[in-house]
């Protein structure tokens, strides 16, 4: 587990907690342990480790946190690192609606308390041709779905990024926005319930950096990265297939499924190989991003050239 870097912000938070406890804290050991317990979670998350059966080597935290597509801030890959710091993480409640037994809003912290945390070291492949390996922290989406109890009309799960133009400047640009807002993604119910499908609240043992889609995002490792929607606001169970943002933007280039597939090119570029971040040489892209054994049954009988 990498040691967390202690930022001045964290120290500031810690000092505030310390002062709240009063002068007695200086001598009282119970107060000291209370202090430790109430330390902001920026420091470490507790989770079950991924035994990493595929023996994947994660990219560095610096690479993963400095190379992001977060068009709500900018189409540049590093600009969101600074810009995203305006996101206010607490409170942040997620809305659950649609064809489910219990429609409600739940704080991210309460979700973590309910479902616990585990680590998943996954490959991540962007449709643009680069890839990385990330140790995410979170919980599988099926745990949440079990809790929400979708009814028989729930055929798809629809995900929506928070729409708050005060935070996300591109959402305030109207006609001149880089993409349609708010960002929408979708999964078929069986894809959503697949044990690999994951909701991440952290990575590298720490809460998600804001530019990586804090406080909570989707991760679907066998699909192109744009399916892994950031900074979630709503999760809805719906009857009709949602129109995901990139499909709405350019339907001949991006489909609903967006499964990683080295044999089906993007109309403008090849998908056969990929650039692993930090490497000057390329590597082969794997069918379903290396998760073929686990997920290919979901697409039996489908023409993946048409249903891209």
């Amino acid at each position: 587990m990498p040691t967390p870097s202690i930022t001045p912000e964290i120290l500031f938070e810690a000092r505030r907690h310390f002062l709240k406890l009063g002068a007695g804290a200086l001598v009282s050991s119970t107060a000291l342990s209370q202090l430790l317990a109430s330390m902001p979670e920026e420091i470490q998350l507790s989770f079950t480790k991924d035994p990493n059966p595929l023996k994947l080597t994660p990219n560095t935290f610096e690479q993963v946190s400095n190379y992001v597509n977060f068009y709500e801030f900018s189409t540049d890959k590093t600009a969101p690192v600074k810009m995203a710091q305006v996101i206010k993480l607490k409170p942040w409640s997620l809305g659950f609606f649609g064809e489910i037994a219990r429609e409600e809003m739940v704080e991210v912290d309460d979700l973590i308390a309910k479902f616990g945390l585990e680590e998943r070291i996954y490959r991540f492949r962007c449709v643009e041709g680069w890839s990385m390996v990330v140790p995410w922290i979170g919980f599988p989406l099926y745990k949440l779905l079990d809790y929400l109890q979708p009814n028989s009309k729930a055929k798809y799960v629809k995900f929506t990024t928070r729409h708050e133009p005060d935070i996300f400047p591109d959402q305030a640009k109207g006609l001149f926005a880089s993409i349609k807002h708010p960002y929408v993604e979708g999964l078929r119910m069986d894809e959503a319930r697949h044990p690999l499908t994951f909701l991440a609240v952290g990575m590298y043992g720490k809460p998600l950096p804001k530019q990586n889609g804090a406080p909570i995002r989707l991760v679907v490792p066998w699909k192109y990265g744009f399916k892994s929607i950031k900074s979630l606001d709503l999760i809805e169970c719906v009857e009709e297939q949602p129109l995901n943002t990139w499909q709405a933007m350019a339907p001949e280039e991006y489909g609903f499924y967006a499964n990683v597939n080295p044999h089906v090119d993007h109309p403008r570029w090849s998908q056969a190989k990929e650039r692993l971040l930090g490497k000057l040489t390329k590597q082969e892209t794997l069918m379903f991003n290396g998760y073929e054994k686990e997920v290919s049954h979901l697409y039996a009988g489908m023409d993946l050239r048409k249903q891209y």
């Binding site: 690479q63 400095n66 190379y67 597509n69 068009y71 189409t75 540049d76 890959k77 449709v127 643009e128 680069w130 880089s178 993409i179 933007m249 090119d265 109309p267 403008r268 570029w269 090849s270 056969a272 650039r275 971040l277 930090g278 490497k279 000057l280 040489t281 390329k282």
Partner: protein
């Protein structure tokens, strides 16, 4: 002065070499520096003649240097494509070049620049100078290529497009006026 231009124009390459080791996505970084460098230098090489007409500032003697520098960047850009991106796999390379409009538009633009660079010596230029008007074709193709290289075009692409339109438009306008005055 020409030496200074060459040195200034090549500085970004030095920086790129230095930054390569810690680059997060090195191949993409090389594509961007060389591609954007070539495009900027090409636009700069078209500026002197407009400049002369508008501000009576004669910078024409720098045109060739700027044009050749643009070619150097384009050559490096194409080398990235052949060596690093396609890893000298010429079968895939040709397949890609023929199938993807985004790529063959770049290839055509590069061939135009290549022919211009080859015929840029004093002797050959005297014979081939009128073909150097093809640079306008190359510019249009490159602007298109740059547009297609993005998932969505941003401020940079629109900015380049605008500068290109101003430089090309000014020439068209000049030609029109010239033709009109000939008729009178």
């Amino acid at each position: 002065m020409k030496t200074l231009i060459v040195v200034l124009a090549l500085l970004p390459l030095g920086y790129t070499y230095y930054a390569l080791e810690s680059a997060i996505d090195p191949i993409k970084m090389l594509y961007t520096t060389t591609g954007v460098g070539a495009l900027l230098l090409l636009l700069l090489s078209l500026a002197p003649s407009t400049c002369q007409r508008f501000c009576a500032l004669n910078l024409l003697r720098f045109r060739k240097t700027l044009g050749l520098l643009a070619f150097v960047y384009a050559l490096l850009h194409v080398s990235v494509f052949i060596v690093l991106d396609s890893e000298l796999d010429f079968v895939t390379l040709f397949a890609k070049s023929l199938k993807k409009p985004f790529i063959y538009v770049g290839v055509i633009a590069f061939l135009i620049l290549l022919l211009m660079a080859l015929t840029s010596t004093k002797k050959l230029f005297a014979r081939f100078s009128r073909y150097h008007k093809a640079v306008y074709g190359a510019l249009v193709l490159i602007l298109l290529h740059d547009f297609w290289a993005q998932k969505v075009a941003g401020a940079f692409e629109y900015g380049m497009m605008a500068i290109g339109i101003v430089l090309l438009g000014e020439r068209v306008w000049k030609e029109c006026r010239f033709n009109m005055s000939k008729r009178h």
